[in-house]
Amino acid sequence: MTDTNYTYAVARIRALEVTLFSNATIDQLMACRTYEECLQFIADKGWGDSDTGLNAEAMLTREEEKIWEVMREMRVDMSVFDVLSYPNQFHNLKAAIKEVCTETVNPGIFYDDCEIGGEEMLEIIRNKDFIRLPDNMQAAAKEAYDTLLHTRDGQLCDVIIDRATMEAVYEAGRQAKDDIMKNYAEDTVAIADIKIAVRSAKTAKSIEFMRRAMAQCASLSVDQLSKAALAGEAAIAEYLLGTAYAGGAEALKESPSAFERWCDNRVIQTIQPQKYKAFTIGPLVAYVLARQNEIKTVRIILSGKQNGFPDDAIRERVREMYV
């Protein structure tokens, strides 16, 4: 029987989708001559609130907060968004381990709209109370903590936590009922592996490093990808041509920013069918991803305008919109 639990939420999302930026809106934003004009443009579109004024970072942060406020208002089971929230959750773990091990304090490095906020995460790490962490985080937290404490190798600490993040995302996707979550998790892990391969090829990392850093997924062979990375970027592109990520191979040949854009555009293409679903969680997840993509694109444009980049250079980095 079709699940109609999300009927209210999906209809509300449909009404909200009208306010999402289209490609034409992004073109209008690009047409603004100055950084200040861009800020005024997004403020006129309702971005930020009375407290943020025309402060770009405050406006973008407020927009990110609005996404989750809407989801919470709709009283949906927030665990369905685990696939999306794990990266922030594991980021908090990484930041806390680094702060504790290096005995430094860096304000503003934590995401607070997570299951475990910055302060709580710091307390857990300081007390080595790893048992309080979710099951999929405990082993990685302990290993990363011990590694950083004994070797002072920050990159190795990152590798351990990043891989655990991808494994958690993949497992959450595998257990999800909806295809959108499965596909998103698959793409996220595969794209992360491709990025590791590209960076490893550029920095001449060993195959052992790559195997340790990459997470297993169904659509790519970690073994073949890491072997291709040893041979260089051209070999990675050649390997990708035979996979579902052939478009990424073309983008890789073009430029690193084109590849980054392709990665985000692929996510947007994956969620496009959710525009036509009426009773599943899919449209809600698609809305969250579309809003995050929109905020990222606006951030890129604002940053480009602020630093005086030519329009062509900014446009190369502009992502496709969901609507």
Binding site: Y8, A11, R12, E17, A278, F279
Partner: protein, 158 residues
Amino acid sequence: MSELGIVYALLGAALAVLLAGAGSAIGVGIAGQAAAGVVTEDPSKFAKVLIMQLLPGTQGIYGLLVGFLTLSKIGLIGGGAANLDPKTGLMILAACLPIGIVGLISGKYQGMTSAAAIGIVAKKPDQFGKAMLFPAMVETYAILALLISIIAVTGIQV
């Protein structure tokens, strides 16, 4: 034994009202959730989504109509109860089933189609007319069942 006929006939009237009414209640409920979702963000669309929400409500009215016809037929409205034999009672029960069963199923699915059509209105209010056609198509089958139930109930000789 002689009262069994009227019991069957009354059961038919009850099923027509009960099943078709339940279908409408489910359908209107589903469409109402979607309508509420849209109005939360855009109250100006209230009138349009309200019409969409009401579409699955007709099955309940059809069931009520067949229920009234049946009660009138067996004399429970406007006169003394007819002395029905069990065979005639069962025939009246069978005549009530089309609107009861089809009303239940079509009410639910019309509600779901209305909810989906409310999504169209949320994004493209100018397409209201086209959006309304989709749930209206489901209505066709409730009307067909209503016709058969009315013809059958009125055609049975008491």
